[in-house]
């Protein structure tokens, strides 16, 4: 499932995938795969992304119940 929230949070912070990748110490491809829902990041990487985007785990990685 695509992670739209993460992409939106990144865009709101005026960061491109490359910037976020550098901030959390991974490659741009990994960020792209997370956003497209093709890679499940470890909890450590989730936390690093949340810190870089100044969001909580709930904000970015918890699905809203319908």
């Amino acid at each position: 499932m695509k992670n739209i929230k993460m992409k939106m949070a990144r865009v709101e912070r005026d960061m491109n995938q490359e910037d976020l990748a550098k901030a959390v110490g991974v490659t741009r491809q990994t960020i792209s795969l997370i956003e497209s829902g093709n890679y499940n990041p470890s909890l450590n990487l989730c936390v690093a992304i949340c810190k870089a985007l100044n969001r909580t785990l709930n904000d970015l990685f918890w699905e809203d119940t319908p």
């Binding site: 990748a21 110490g25 991974v26 890679y39 990041p41 470890s42």
Partner: protein
């Protein structure tokens, strides 16, 4: 400039997967090489290195899993009867393959080979299962202490 590919968890995971597959393919190639050379009736010294490396690879796998506390043998569930049955089946298959490859029809020799194989395989498996059970018990005890 920092190389992020070296710290990227996804890339590291994929690299480990590639290396693990490489190891498995190498083991398979060694096994095929040893079997083919046996079929072609090559002298033992010619394929001894392949056999020893195959053995070393297997031992490495067992020891590494054991040290990390990975229960390869499902030690808690394994009973001596199951291990013996496994040894008899493996011994039967082993002796049949040996007889076919070497065209050995000496029944006494094949029976001796079978008995020796079953005894060795059973003892080795029983020992490994016992060691694994002890290790699992120690891990559970440690977890309970921490809890």
């Amino acid at each position: 400039m920092k190389n992020h590919a070296a710290t990227d968890e996804r890339i590291m995971y994929q690299r480990r997967k590639i290396q693990s597959r490489g190891f498995a393919y190498l083991m398979l190639a060694l096994w095929i090489s040893a079997i083919v050379q046996q079929i072609l009736k090559a002298p033992f010294m010619q394929y001894a290195v392949e056999l020893f490396l195959l053995l070393a690879g297997g031992i490495y796998n067992i020891v590494a899993n054991y040290r990390l506390g990975i229960d390869l043998w499902n030690a808690k569930e394994r009973k001596p009867g199951g291990i013996l049955l496994n040894a008899v089946i493996t011994g039967g298959v082993g002796v049949t393959v040996h007889a076919l490859i070497s065209k050995n029809s000496d029944i006494a020799q094949l029976v001796l080979f079978f008995v020796f194989f079953v005894a060795f395989f059973f003892l080795a498996q029983a020992l490994l299962a016992k060691m694994a059970r002890k290790k699992q018990e120690a891990i559970i005890q440690k977890l309970e202490e921490d809890d």
